[in-house]
Symmetry: C2
Subunit: 548 residues, 2 copies
């Protein structure tokens, strides 16, 4: 039997935002991207989530390489965890490699990593795979999609893309290369679904120039623009407009400072001599000649924007006349925080521009009309929507049907399903076991659903621990029980409730002589829970511990 | 000195969504609306928040009446708490009164409440106030704004409004009455700011008819439409389209069933004879002739939509061919949950329509162009934006300047500021003390920031309680310490860590003879915290209790 081609989006069912994919032919596996996902609001205490790559663990010797499509955290953020387990070379474009190096250095993993640089137009031969990266537009420069020729046929992987006709760096998505792939016959297209529920076309980055210009012209004082630290093209746009307006620029936020430095060194960011000052130097510049780029556009507690909103930044303070621009898409789940930050900025006297008040951000991902255009240019035999929640994949699948891909050649699958392809058909294979891998402090994959359930309970009503000294021979408590509580009621003001609890404990712990302490624990716990519910209609976590 | 007119949005600084307002003239206070606000995501364990009306407590004898503008929870949800403290008559339109009765009955407060019904066009004389309610369009029928003539001048309160030219009930906002107010001279306009950051005009309810029709025509099976239980006009729209399509209808969700019953009895909802079935009866109807209206469009855990998504409903199950329509605006903070519900509905085989895939919801609030139109029709001397976060109030203030209200006649204030008005000017007075009043189970106003901080800590890393039996005479622990933990690590798998903790405790509790147990508690706590941080980089809440 001939070797078969398998494609698998890695990770647990229903997970998104980690964007890791394995391509397997015979005894050769190519891995594309290794991103992290930020925790959802019910994943209490979790720092971030990495892909579940347990499928690859017993095939370690088959993994030939890791190819990274671009330098965003949802594509490179889990790389140091991956490289700790898999000793494989990593391939990336120059800027992406720069961002990977920043990340690996911080995790003390740079020394042992084997990194290679490629450019669009290069051809990489890795095992049975011939990889042809091609340029795509996205919200970070140097993003690529991949043509991957395998013995079974040609795969086209879109990367994260949009079809911006006027991108900041003047380099549109390489439709010519995609047309060339088409002329060779594309077996399967794997394409970015992030914006598959957005009708129309994503606006060009160019529309922001005018908006930034107007805001800077109108603003009587400093203009503070917050965005993602990795949005190099946004930084370039702000620099260009600020230069026209004769404003100086400073960067606030460590990651953005580091990325700016690196992108300048590599030639991806062009800032005129003398225009970039540090936060100290820029204090000497009149406010109407100042632009500050800052991180924290998602309202992150330690981000610059939140610290400005709550006056917790060491050297920067919002002052009357400041204008703040929130130039990023608010990631679902962060809306409340971002709105609170905006309200606080207003309280401190700033004027604020944010979507929908002004178009101060455009997405880096293709909307429906662009996704259909890509499908039409590539004309693949089969189609697999990738990168997105199930709702996005489903919509993208509908678009593919609309442009004429037959239903049986479209596979809409969540992470963890094997897709098996040959010249004839696309088959959805078995689901590989896997789930969420939580990273929390130094613990990787140790926090699980049971602990998250406990945290959820604690977050709702706190806990009460009752400590009882008990004498089995008499079946009576000795001395006063201790009641330890946190997150339930405000203890200093709840004397009555807590002394009531003591009485309940003493009563519940007065049992028949000889009763086992475990039984007493059970009785005390039950009585206390009932008492608290009856008194407050709340259900704190109640634990009794009985010492003999 | 003449009596002065004071207007005050009640509640803590930065709070929104409770929409309570006091209007005070001499020894007479009129209160408008008493809503509740749902907790933000960092208000762990809180059920809801009610206005802080402590300002009114020492003026109880001056409160003449409560006027309710419409029956949404953010306008009536705190009424039973208010009436428990203030023995005042409540005035509302018929449908609003019906919804108030449902709410008060559930809280066992209906008997003692003094309720009066009014209709737009009526004139209410209450103390020195002459109140002229006028009809406005909103997402619930029978909504009013208020003209309030006081000895100091005429106040116009917009209520929650939009200027829908083709509302479901055929009754547009009463611009003629507003023009009449203008001819008398309006001292101050208080106007709904909810959508003040939305450019343009809010689409009419009528646009939904076509969308619902297309969805029902296309759907091969049942159509399940989820929305707010109080969105009576949406229910009417679905009924009308379903009747044309010869589909039967059933209602799932207690609140919606109750509201539908009440609205039908009062004549606000028109459902043809024989069309409304219960969930049991509708099972006998072929799927392509079924529409089910359901609650839970915000993804609430106990809402119908979430129970369908997770197969937890007693009698309803999603089946292949079902189409689900999420017909409501997702309240900020709920996005993640709603998206998760949509993804799960897809997993179970449903097709799902939601914004932005299709326009299946329109807002009930005016956008910028309508807000400006209202300002132009009323032409008030002064303007106070109400109902919204500070960012909305600020935008609304900008709109008022654009239409020509002088800056000094616009007061953009958060809750709790007194506004003092006379023939000459609008003055922002002092801030009245007040803050968030949290309701949690049967506790009203008892949960405070300290407890929320504790819950936040517990939610991140759980807790560890160490119980040590200690002999002061020897300065040594007795027996094995107990370690009680929840939400920190998965205890069954963390043996090593927890036995390490025992060693740390024993060591820390071995002190100089005679050391006070409080000191030992402190030492154990410190040593354990250090140990856990060093082992896990997490910081659980650590409490030591030492028994002598």
């Amino acid at each position: 039997m001939a070797a078969r081609l398998k494609i698998m989006p890695m990770g647990g069912l229903g997970e998104v935002g980690k964007n890791m994919m394995a391509i397997e032919y015979g005894r050769n596996i190519l891995v594309i991207d290794a991103g992290l996902m930020f925790p959802e609001s019910d994943m209490l205490g979790i720092d971030y989530i990495i892909p579940d790559w347990s499928y690859l663990r017993d095939k370690k010797d088959r993994v030939r390489a890791m190819i990274i499509t671009h330098g965003h955290m949802d594509h490179i953020g889990a790389l140091h965890h991956f490289l700790a387990e898999f000793d494989v070379p990593v391939y990336a474009t120059r800027l992406t490699r720069g961002l990977i190096e920043v990340r690996l250095r911080r995790e003390h993993m740079l020394e042992q990593a084997e990194l290679y640089t490629f450019a669009p137009g290069d051809v990489l031969e890795i095992g049975p795979f011939t990889i042809e990266p091609f340029h795509v537009c996205h919200s970070i420069p140097d993003t690529v999609g991949l043509g991957i020729t395998t013995p079974a046929g040609l795969i086209v992987h879109s990367g994260d893309f949009k079809l911006d006709p006027t991108p900041v760096d003047g380099w549109p998505t390489d439709l010519a290369k995609l047309a060339e792939f088409r002329s060779r016959g594309v077996m399967v297209l794997l394409s970015d679904s992030t914006n598959a529920d957005q009708p129309g076309t994503t606006p060009s980055e160019a529309v922001l120039d005018d908006v930034f210009r107007q805001i800077m012209q109108r603003s009587p004082g400093r203009v503070i623009i917050a965005t993602f630290a990795s949005l190099i093209s946004r930084i370039q746009q702000v620099v260009d407009v600020a230069a026209q307006q004769e404003r100086k620029i400073a960067i606030a936020g460590r990651a953005m400072v580091e990325n700016t430095k690196m992108a300048r060194e590599l030639g991806y960011l062009n800032i005129p001599q003398g225009m970039l000052l540090n936060l100290q130097e820029i204090k000497a510049v009149p406010p109407q000649q100042v632009v500050i780029m800052a991180t924290g556009s998602q309202g992150e507690p330690m981000g610059i924007l939140n610290r400005l909103a709550t006056a917790r930044h060491r050297s920067l303070r919002i002052q009357q006349g400041d204008t703040v621009v929130v130039s990023s898409h608010t990631i679902p789940g962060n809306e409340e925080t971002v709105h609170a930050v905006i309200n606080r900025l207003y309280q401190r006297g700033a004027d604020v521009y944010y979507d929908p008040v002004a178009q101060v951000h455009v997405s880096g991902h293709a909307a429906q009309e662009e996704q259909k255009r890509l499908l039409n240019v590539v004309r693949p035999r089969c189609f697999v929507p990738i990168h997105g929640e199930l709702r996005h994949l489903k919509q993208h699948g509908k678009l593919a049907r609309e442009v004429g891909i037959p239903q049986e050649n479209i596979a809409v699958v969540e992470n963890g399903y094997e897709l098996i392809l040959d010249q004839k058909r696309l088959e959805v294979g078995k689901r590989v076991p896997g789930g969420y891998v939580f990273v929390e402090g130094s613990l990787v994959g140790e926090t699980g659903p049971a602990v998250l359930d406990e945290r959820d309970k604690l977050s709702q009503s706190g806990f009460v621990v009752a400590v009882v000294h008990y004498r089995r021979s008499t079946g009576r408590p000795v001395g006063r029980p201790r009641v330890i509580t946190s997150g339930f009621v405000f203890a200093p003001a709840a004397n009555e409730l807590l002394s009531g609890a003591e009485r309940v404990i003493r009563k519940a712990a007065a049992v028949q002589a000889g009763t086992a302490p475990e039984m007493v624990e059970h009785l005390v716990q039950q009585a206390l829970s009932d008492f608290f519910y009856q008194q407050t209609r709340s259900k704190p976590v109640v634990i009794a511990t009985v010492l003999e």
